[in-house]
């Protein structure tokens, strides 16, 4: 016997009220991050020991600035989903869970906005 109400079952969203959306988006972002990570690691290796203007020159190319912007946004989105699954597992009270979920999202927004503004300053300078 199911304890679910018929409405809840037909909505198919389960106890987290979001269905399989996180599961699916985690996979989509993971697949997108495979080529982006390869691009980032290879690009970043060229900057070892190089002066700052080498980084600036690189990101003044629109394609590189665009790829880096996409990388940062998808990376942070993947991070938020991953951190939520950790918080959902280990935060046993709703209060703590809400606090940690808000903090993880605030962290992603701060890192994302700071990175994008820095990228724009380099690209437009």
């Amino acid at each position: 016997m199911s304890m679910e109400t018929p409405l809840h079952r037909v909505q198919g969203l389960g106890p987290a009220h979001s269905g399989t959306q996180h599961f699916w988006r985690q996979r989509i972002t993971a697949v997108a991050l495979i080529p982006l990570t390869v691009w980032f690691v290879i690009s970043a290796l060229a900057f070892v020991g190089a002066p700052g203007f080498a980084v600036d020159t690189f990101f003044q190319h629109p394609m590189n600035a665009a790829l880096m912007g996409i990388f940062v946004v998808i990376l942070l989105y993947h991070m938020v989903i991953g951190l939520q699954s950790v918080i959902d597992d280990y935060a046993h009270s709703d209060g703590w869970k809400i606090v940690l979920l808000l903090l993880s999202r605030a962290f992603a927004i701060v890192v994302g906005v700071a990175s994008i503004i820095a990228l724009l300053r380099i690209a437009i300078a």
Binding site: A30, T37, V48, D56, L75, M79, V86, V111, A114, I122
Partner: protein, 135 residues
């Protein structure tokens, strides 16, 4: 066995009771490296901000990176990235239905650990060579 303090009923077996296997270790490591990489995004933002803020700021970032403490942090970051990247591909293969047999899962687990260390050491060797720290 541990007792549930409120009801005096036994708890289900906890992680400490299981024999360690590479599949469970890789699963835990995937999560730990994911959290570590989350913290590591601050380094990524710092790098971009330093590059945007002029030569002095960038020199400060390089000074922080190019010393033993910086090397340890960066190695941790690079290895975490390599592990999470490779084990993420392993997870995606499972999502497509490949590699579920226990011997296969054990082998790919060991492979991910070995390759992640190899890639991280390789990247560092290349970087140290490129920066002139080692010939």
């Amino acid at each position: 066995m541990a007792e549930n303090p409120r009801t005096a009923r036994p708890l289900s077996p906890f992680v400490t009771i299981y024999r360690w296997q590479v599949t469970m270790a890789a699963s835990i490591t995937h999560r730990v490296t994911g959290v570590a990489l989350s913290a590591g995004t601050v380094l990524l933002a710092w790098w971009l901000i330093a590059a945007a803020s002029g030569p002095e700021s960038y020199a400060l970032f390089q000074k922080a990176a190019a010393n033993p403490v910086g090397w340890v942090v960066l190695f941790g970051f690079v290895w975490s990235l390599m592990f999470h990247f490779l084990n993420g591909i392993r997870h995606l293969a499972w999502d497509l239905g490949y590699g579920f047999a226990v011997p296969t899962a054990n082998r790919t687990g060991v492979l991910v650990y070995a390759l992640s260390v190899l890639f991280a050491v390789g990247i560092f060797a290349w970087a140290f060579h490129h920066a002139g720290i080692v010939p």
